[in-house]
């Protein structure tokens, strides 16, 4: 898998950003999980330098950090119209299980860990993440297992996702309505 954008931070370390996104709602359990000191140590150990958190409507505020030597630079925001740019400049994406976020990230060929929100009533979202994890396109975790997923992960083993398209549906609809084949 491709690494993030080239560049280095002020101490000359190659910049490697972990981007966390919760989507349009809130997912405090995830924000809290990535705000743990042990978790940040694991990220540092894996060579990541920055942690950027899109926290949505959540109420848990993570700790910011300027990243004094040998610690992670941590920043957060609530919403942004340029999520795509953040995804593009990330080396690793940790996302909620919404299909929009998942496929946007996979299309950019970024390593992805999907964290399933177990507090949701209708938790069908786990289905998609688990299926794609079985097919080795991403890792699937829960807030409490995220830490272990990152320590154990091997990004080399992830397979690129080839986006599908709607032509089979369009064909059947056209035939049904009596339109000639193109």
């Amino acid at each position: 898998m491709r690494e993030g954008e080239e560049g280095a931070d002020q101490w000359g370390r190659p910049k490697k950003v972990v981007f966390v996104t919760v989507g349009t709602t809130s997912f405090d359990a995830l924000v809290r999980a990535v705000d743990q000191q042990e978790f940040k140590q694991v990220l540092l150990g894996k060579g990541y330098t920055h942690l950027l958190i899109q926290m949505g409507r959540g109420t848990y505020i993570p700790a910011k950090s300027e990243g004094e030597a040998s610690s992670l630079v941590v920043d957060y925001f609530t919403f942004s119209s340029s999520i795509a740019d953040h995804l593009r400049s990330a080396s690793l994406v940790i996302s909620h299980a919404g299909s929009g976020s998942i496929f946007e990230t996979l299309k950019l060929r970024k390593p992805l860990i999907v964290v399933v929100n177990e507090d949701l009533m209708d938790n069908h979202q786990a289905e998609l993440a688990e299926e794609l994890a079985e097919r080795k396109h991403l890792y699937c975790a829960r807030p409490q297992t995220l830490h272990k997923t990152i320590s154990d992960m091997n990004l080399e083993s992830l397979l690129p996702y080839h986006p599908g398209d709607a032509t089979p549906v369009a064909k059947i609809i056209n035939r049904f309505l009596g339109f000639p084949e193109d």
């Binding site: 299909s99 688990e130 009596g178």
Partner: protein
């Protein structure tokens, strides 16, 4: 007198039943008109992932065949219609034409129940939503309905089916189950499948096609 009413009612009920059976027989079978020009099309949009999938489907369809197009989204959802507008703008730009004012329309519909709303107040809001859906459907009377999951498509499709029975308008209803549904159908999908309201029912994962054999497995749209 009483006997007359009973006979009258039973005749009407039997006629409606025969009509319903006829509709169910005809539903799901291809349109017999072999040289259609275009069909007025209602596109039901949902939030987030749903809209992205629908836009992929619209990009695969010939816009001249599905015209005019009516986009509909929940009144609380501003994003989806905005996305539909930018899709239409880019389509028009690509074709190098200016879209006629009535060729594309955008509408909003009341939702029967917002997330977290109590069940008691939702009886009233469901009624309001139904009347609103009926009003919109009478105005549009689409020949084709494309939908892929949001709850708002249920009243619209049910009314379209009613229009078929009563003879107001024949329509073809296409339902694409969301890519997020791998092992179980959504409630909307289940209703449209079980009641045979959808003429064609598409699923994006093979497992669902095995459980629901009348569905077409079409692979992933994303």
């Amino acid at each position: 007198m009483a006997l007359g009413i009973i006979i009258g009612v039973s005749v009407i009920v039997s006629l409606l039943l025969i009509r319903l059976l006829h509709i169910l027989y005809r539903s799901g079978k291809p349109i017999s008109d072999k040289s259609p020009k275009s069909y007025s099309t209602l596109v039901v949009l949902g939030s987030g992932g749903h809209t992205a999938e629908m836009i992929n489907l619209l990009l695969a369809l010939d816009q001249n065949r599905f015209s005019p197009r009516y986009y509909i989204a929940a009144a609380t959802d501003n994003m989806s219609l905005q996305k539909a507008r930018s899709l239409e703008n880019s389509l028009a730009e690509k074709a190098g034409i200016k879209v006629a004012a009535d060729a594309v329309q955008y509408m909003q519909i009341y939702r029967s129940r917002e997330v977290g709303q109590s069940y008691i107040t939702s009886v009233w809001t469901t009624l309001v939503a139904l009347v609103h859906a009926l009003w919109l459907m009478l105005r549009v009377r689409p020949q084709v309905i494309l939908c892929n999951g949001p709850g708002t498509c249920i009243p619209l499709c049910a009314i379209a089916f009613l229009f078929k029975i009563v003879g107001i308008r024949w329509s073809s209803i296409f339902y694409v189950e969301s890519i997020a549904r791998v092992r179980r159908l959504s409630l909307s999908g289940l209703i449209l499948y079980k009641l045979r309201i959808a003429d064609r029912f598409f699923v994006q994962w093979p497992h669902l096609q095995r459980i629901y054999p009348r569905a077409d497995y079409v692979g992933c749209l994303m």
